[in-house]
Symmetry: C2
Subunit: 198 residues, 2 copies
């Protein structure tokens, strides 16, 4: 009798990612340069057709050591959970040894994301253990080209902060938003679910 469902889910990262990473130093010191790396990954992800124009990375906040880089793989992997933040956080947890990157014996980890997290990723960040969130483009920049970011509470930034996670917004916003605008102009796929149901 065949198994009723698969025993594993395998998420394969695009082949270009490791080559891309080799072009950057192991440590990236300024927040601006960290965001530049992430926004460039978002641009490459869109232009290579491996997913939407979004990327995110986990760094050691103090040293700037790059821990992981995730990109949006929703369309190429066929899984709606595969936002860039989800990939970056999961890869980082694999690397740092567990589901809580906020343990007292660990360095402070930060998530740098090219666009403000959607409703799902907002929750994923809370559970990850990262202690800093650095954001490029705003939700409005993604919504302008048709992406749905979902409902978050008006005070979501202070809710994140109240849980010990520092939030820094608008880092390199202009460049981050440009990647979204270019994607919109090029006719890139806007992959919201439930088309026409709202």
């Amino acid at each position: 009798m065949p198994p009723i469902q698969p025993d594993t889910i395998e998420i394969r990262l695009p082949e270009w990612i490791n080559d891309f990473l080799r072009a950057f130093p192991e440590h990236v010191h300024s927040l601006h340069d960290r965001m530049t790396l992430v926004v460039e990954a978002a641009r490459v992800n869109a232009s290579r057709g491996t997913g939407g124009p979004f990327a995110a990375a986990v760094f050691e906040a103090e040293s700037g050591k790059l821990i992981s880089l995730g990109v949006n793989l929703v369309t190429s992997a066929g899984l709606s959970i595969l936002h860039a933040e989800i990939l970056a956080l999961s890869l980082a947890q694999k690397k740092t040894g567990g589901y809580d990157m906020g343990r007292q014996d660990m360095p402070v980890y930060e998530l740098v994301t090219s666009t403000e997290p959607c409703a799902m990723c907002f929750g994923a960040i809370l559970w990850s253990g990262v202690r800093r969130l650095v954001i490029g483009a705003r939700s409005a920049d993604a919504e302008r080209i048709g992406f749905d970011e979902g409902p978050k509470r008006r005070n979501w930034k202070s809710e994140i902060a109240a849980r010990g996670i520092e939030v820094i917004c608008d880092v390199g916003r202009k460049g981050a938003a440009k990647v979204l605008q270019d994607y919109g102009k090029s006719g890139g796929k806007i992959y919201n679910s439930l088309h026409g149901k709202r």
Copy 2:
């Protein structure tokens, strides 16, 4: 030069799941019986130590055909995103052929979850394409034993409904909550991140 990060993330389901599923019919007709299956999976997941006391499954809403069963694997897989709903939705998307289970040419799919979705899973449900959400225990039942469900908007049910997803609550709540209470009493791991930071 070794790759800077892994090329794949592999999520392995517990071995007991397919044996567990074989004890149930291919179609489960009443909502009550669907919830019973899910709550029993939550109980087994906790007692076997493969994760927290949570499970979720995707069914074809009309026929009751079981598409996927997910359980919480946060502690065993070391990934904070691996809530039962995330697994069930991802397995179902692998099986039904893509990131949007809400396409017009598809049957209506529903997610049956043993406990009210947390802030992250709330967003994941919006993006999945399921058109019905069936909930057993309430967030308060999970919070009573120490789990953090995260902030959702007060009107989250109507926000889900406004996106074409029907919400049905308190289905078999008593049995679902009992699994949580038993887990609490047995000293099961409460794995919230950022211990002591809030």
